[in-house]
Each structure stands twice: as C-alpha cells, then as structure tokens.
C-alpha cells in the first residue's frame, strides 16, 4: 500500500525533493512505479531496477534530467507520455504552500485510474480528489433477469426489440460463433511439397550426398489471417444497436486481430479497452473511455480522422475494414465520399454494415448512405444475429484473389 509514501513537507525549498539522499530515493521510486502501474503503465521490477541504475548517472538536482531519465525507463508508448508527465508532476512536484484546499498541485493534470485506487493515492499523497480521477464511476448496468427465447427466434429478432435478457443470450451466441477472417499470403516462407525451390535445404541435403542435388525441397508462402478493422457508429440514431455492436466487437476481438474504433462526432480507438476478457468490464472501460456515445454523426469527419491518424498504423498487411453505421450523416456527402474513396484504396476490402437494411422496405436513401454505397465492396445488414453470421461467412470466404 502506498500510504507510507506521503511526501514530507517540502514547501520551503522546491528543489530539495531532487536532492534526497539515495536511501530515501529508492522507496520513493518504488512508490512512483506503483503509481504508474495503477495509472496503466507497465512498471515492473525490471524497470525499477533500470531506473535505479539510470539515476546513478544523473545529477539528481537537475529536475529536467531526472524527469527525462525516468521517462526513458518507464514509458514505452507514445500514448503513455501524457500519463507519465501527469504522474511525475503529481508525485514529485512539491506541493505549493500557497495552494488552498481545492487547488490542484502538479500543474492541474489528472490520471486515469480505478476509483478505489484513486482514493488510496489521493490520501497517500495528500491531494484533492479531482486531480486523480478523470471521471465518476459509470452508472451501473441494469441487472438482467433470466428469460428465454428459442435460439432460432432470437437469431432473427431485431436488436432494437430485444430485452436485456435476450441481449445476454445474444452475447453467448456471438461468443460461441467461430469468427475467422480469410487469410492472406505473407512473405514468410515455410516448407511445402509444392512451391518454389528451397535452395538452402536442397543444398544442405546435397552436401551429405557428395554434392549431388538428389532431392529438391520446396517452400511456399505462409498464410495468415487478415487484420480486421471495425469502425462503429455510436451516434444517437444508432443508440439501440450500440451495445450489441460492442458485444459483437468484443466477441470478435477475442478471436481475431481486431482494431476497433467508435465515432459519433469524433473518432475514438477502443482496441485496448476491449481487451478485458470479461465483457462487462470491457464495455465498462469502453463507456468510460469514450465521451461521445450518442451524439450527432459526422461520418466523413470520423473517417477523415481515421485516414489521417490511424490508417497507416492499422491498415498494413491487407486489412479488411468494416464500417457499421445507418448512414444518417449531418456532414457533407461529398466529404464522406472523398474519405471513403481514400479508405477503400488502403484497405483490402471495405464492408458497410447497416442495421436499417434489415427493416422491411428500407432503401438506402439517406444522403450519406446513397453517396457512400457505390464506394463500398459489400453492403450488408446488421440488425440481428443471423445477419452477423452472414458477415462471418463473408469474412471467412475472402481470400487473396477475391475480386471486388
């Protein structure tokens, strides 16, 4: 527990904290590592050891160098930089003696943290609460009661009409489904009976038979699953489908190499948030991490954001991109088309799922949808389990030669 790590009063000399003698420094470094760990960074014993070693070479009186050294050791992702800076400020900055109650030391930054951990740290460090926690704990999900529907009926029932109990069952159906995405050839080769001649193995064999190439070994490219990218609309008009689509995303992410994003007015990456094995914890972290559930929609802007910030990072290796949206767009259709065209060029295949497509008599007449349609490779429904299973079959059937 961190409670013994409360910083002593250092108000009179702000630089003193950086000249603490090593015997004091080590336990404080350990406590700092625990703070980083609670804020989501990897801060295991190896890093603490490295930090200790690193500090031998640093002038502890120079705050900048001290900070740079700890950053080099404890951070290994760009995304973690702001968390590190905030934690550093909170932990190592001397409390301002002029700060009144309610004022935030540590330059007004906050750390993402579970509420109970945040509370413990707040007490340990003598801080006020708002500094440690970005958000209030989320409202609880209504408890689900048990209910039963025949599986087949459930398969074809529109998500929109489902009760909580039914959603739970859908979740089990989706989790049991064998999500597989078609394979692509990689550039890595493996031994095989057919394919190109493997000179290395053939020659090695020949050497044993006095330099005679008796057997020709061959190898061919190994195949790998294609990465899957899901870009999900969670705006107001999609609200009824959002939870089920998140369940879908979670089910797929347990089996596949999935990158997931949600958007309404802006785009948020939820890949890491979906990593919790437990669905409720995953959904919980998604709703905490996304501030944008159920706003208006600007699909073009969201896709533009994706194209510029993420496409290069997640569309390598022939990815299949799935957009889930009803196409109710408040933005400019031309903008949407331009971004879709760009996206389609960088993806192996672009699939648009529209929950409304399942409703009787639906035609893609919304401006956005009508504009987008010619630029997608596939246009499918997503309003019930059967439709998602169709999607599953489509994904499994895509191979490297599937034409658009």
């Amino acid at each position: 527990m961190p409670d013994e790590e409360r910083p002593e009063s250092l108000g009179e000399d702000p630089s003193r904290i950086f000249s603490v003698a090593p015997p004091d420094l080590l336990p404080r470094l350990g406590a700092f590592a625990r703070l980083l760990h609670d804020a989501g960074l990897e801060a295991g014993p190896r890093r603490v050891t490295d930090a200790t070693r690193a500090l031998n070479y640093i002038d502890l009186k120079a705050e900048v160098d001290f900070r740079n050294a700890l950053r080099a050791v404890f951070v290994s992702r760009k995304e973690d930089l702001p968390v590190f800076e905030a934690a550093f400020d909170i932990f190592w900055a001397p409390p301002d003696p002029r700060a009144s109650a309610g004022m935030i030391p540590g330059r007004g930054r906050s750390l993402p943290m579970a509420p109970e951990r945040a509370k413990a740290w707040t007490e340990a460090l003598g801080l006020n609460r708002s500094q440690m926690q970005r958000e209030q704990p989320p409202a609880e999900f209504p408890a689900s009661s048990s209910g039963y529907s025949a599986e087949e009926l459930l398969r074809h029932k529109d998500f929109e009409e489902m009760t909580w109990a039914e959603t739970e069952q859908v979740r089990r159906l989706l989790e049991a489904a064998p999500w597989r995405v078609a394979e692509r050839r990689t550039r890595r080769l493996r031994p095989s009976r057919t394919g190109r001649i493997d000179l290395r193995r053939s020659a090695r064999h020949a050497i044993r038979s006095s330099g005679e190439l008796m057997t020709l070994f061959r190898r061919k490219p190994r195949v790998r699953r294609r990465p899957l990218v899901l870009i999900c609309d969670v705006s107001g008009s999609m609200e009824r489908y959002s939870r089920l689509l998140m369940i879908f995303a979670h089910a797929v992410s347990r089996r596949e190499d999935l990158e997931a994003f949600v958007f309404s007015t802006r785009l948020t990456r939820i890949t890491r948030l979906l990593r919790h094995r437990d669905l409720d914890r995953a959904l919980d972290s998604v709703s905490k991490g996304v501030h944008d559930f159920s706003g208006g929609t600007r699909i073009g802007d969201a896709l533009g954001d994706f194209n510029r910030k993420w496409a290069r990072r997640v569309l390598g290796h022939g990815a299949v991109v799935i957009i889930v949206s009803d196409g109710w767009d408040r933005g400019d259709p031309e903008h949407l088309v331009a971004e879709l065209v760009h996206l389609r060029r960088s993806a192996h295949r672009l699939i648009w799922l529209n929950p409304l497509l399942g409703s009787d008599g639906y035609e893609p007449l919304t401006r956005g949808m009508a504009a987008a349609l010619p630029h997608c490779d596939d246009f499918l429904a997503a309003h019930n389990v059967a439709a998602l299973e169709d999607l599953g079959r489509l994904l499994a059937g895509l191979d490297s030669r599937t034409s658009r």
């Binding site: 990897e42 490295d50 070479y57 640093i58 550039r187 890595r188 290395r200 020659a203 510029r308 760009h342």
Partner: protein, 299 residues
C-alpha cells in the same frame, strides 16, 4: 570507446555533427550507453530517427551496422546463411567425393567453416574484431513480423547466436543498439521492455530553423526560416501525410537550388511536391498557398 561522461557531452557532440536534438534525446542516448541497453526510438516518418543512430556511430568512432527490416525478414537475411553454391562447388572439386566416414566428417567440417559462412548484420554486430563496439541500427522494426521480433528479443537479452554447425557465438563486446519504428504497428511490449524508449516529436519553429541551417546550409537564413515556418503551418492542417523534417530539408534545398532567397506563392506552388506526397493533400494546400506564405513570412 571514447568514454562519454555526461549528457552535455552527448548534446555537444551531436551538435558538432550537425544533429540538432534536444536534451531529452541526449539523456536517453547517454543512459543507453551507460546502462548498455538498446535504445528504442519512435516517431513519425522523417523526424531523424535513423539519422540519430548514424550520427551516434560517428560520435563514438564506431562502425555502423544497419539492418533494414521488411516483412518476412528471417534469420537467413538477418543473421547468417551458408554459401551453398560455394559449398557444392567445393565438394565437387574435392574429386569423387569423400567416401570413407572419416573423409566425410573432415569434408563437412571444412565446408561448414567460417569461410563458407555469409555473415549478415546481426552476426556481424555480435562477432567482430572492431576496436570500438559497433552501433547496430535495426531500422523500421515495425515492418518485420512477430516471429522476427521474438528472435530479436532473445538476441538482445543474451547477445549470442548459435549456429548448429559451429556452436554458440557470444558477443565479446555489447554493441550499442538503436531500434527505430514508424509505428505502422504496435511493437510487442516484451521487446520494448528491454529497451530505453524515446519518442521524437516534430521540432518547434526555432529548432526546425536551426536544423535547416545546420543540414541545408546552402539555404539563405531568411529562406531557412520561411520554409520551416511554412512546414510548421502545414503540420497544423488536416493532411493525409504531414511533412516531416526530412521534407523541410528537401524543400529548403530545392528552393536554394532554384536560387531563391525568399519564398513567394509561385515558388511554393511549383515546389510543394518536395513536402507533400499525396494528390489530395496537394490540392487542399494549393488553394491556401498565398495565406500560408504570408503567415510564414511573418513568423
């Protein structure tokens, strides 16, 4: 190795070689040298990641060994390969071929000796007679795949390579390893954990001007500042591919080659291709050139 004793010394020596880094980078390099840990440098394309490793080799008076990663890179390309054609030829030249078991064993020992070994960068980095430990640059690791990452992880923890026919080769001296990534995918945490990490951001205006002056001295002072300001303006725009420092330098050199000492809308429109590599981006920027130029001239 020329002993480096302080962060200031790293900073100074980088600067002497016209590499303008900041103190945080100098600190990371200094610590990586002291702790003998690999340095993992991430950043957008064209911010000087590879250059940092090259300059470090020069600073240390060490040889630079570069391994460019690509999808499918394997041990035969990264570590070693036997020279099979030569081996086969050698066996043929030995006459009818070794017949008795002893002959065969001798022959095998002969053809699996270092004479027939093709040494690739990683083996070279571990097994060499350099006076100064070399700098090993593993460039764009995000282009390789997980299998290769797993192998690197092993290599970087033991600094040894085993070749079945020869045995295990252990590094006599640990090379200074720099790994770069453009973040086209997330590199596994286990590998990053072995390294010190440094994120290189785009420089601010003053630093970028300094970089242009240092690395493209042919550009006049006024031009250097205006091009840097122009690129800073472009980075604020919504583009598919934001220009990096490498593009700033290309642009400044292009304009200097045209004899320009200041920028104007016509020159900028004609040479924009040095900085912008997407048709959509060029179009988007084209309409705003006069405004951007005016802003850059005021900066």
């Amino acid at each position: 190795m020329t002993e480096i004793l302080s962060i200031e010394e790293v900073e100074g020596r980088l600067r002497d070689r016209r590499y303008i880094g900041d103190r945080a980078l100098a600190t990371s390099i200094f610590l990586a040298l002291q702790l003998k840990k690999p340095l993992f440098i991430e950043g957008e394309a064209g911010v000087g990641k590879t250059e940092a490793a090259k300059v470090m080799a020069d600073v240390l008076g060490a040889r630079l060994i570069r391994l460019q990663c690509y999808e499918g890179i394997d041990l035969a390309h990264a570590v070693y390969e036997w020279n099979y054609p030569r081996q086969l030829l050698h066996i043929r030249l030995m006459g009818e071929g070794p017949n008795s078991p002893t002959d065969r064993r001798t022959a095998e020992r002969e053809i699996f000796s270092s004479e027939f070994l093709l040494r690739r960068p990683l083996l070279d980095a571990i097994d060499n007679d350099d006076e100064v430990p070399p700098v090993l640059l593993i460039d764009e690791i995000d282009r390789s795949d997980e299998e290769f990452e797993a192998f690197l992880l092993e290599l970087l923890s033991e600094f040894q390579v085993s070749i079945p026919e020869i045995g295990t080769i252990t590094a006599r001296q640990v090379p200074f390893v720099v790994i770069t990534s453009n973040r086209t995918r997330e590199v596994h945490d286990a590998l990053k954990r072995r390294c010190l990490y440094h994120w290189i951001d785009y420089p601010d205006l003053d630093k970028e001007v300094e970089i242009v002056r240092a690395r493209a001295p042919e550009a006049a002072d006024g031009l250097a500042r205006e091009v840097a300001a122009l690129v800073q303006g472009l980075r604020g725009m919504d583009l598919y591919k934001v220009p990096g420092v490498a593009e700033t330098l290309d642009w400044a050199r292009s304009l200097a080659a045209l004899g320009a000492t200041r920028i104007d809308a016509g020159l900028v429109s004609a040479t924009m291709g040095a900085a912008l590599k997407y048709q959509e981006d060029l179009e988007r920027v084209r309409e705003q050139v006069p405004a951007l130029v005016e802003k850059a001239q005021r900066a």
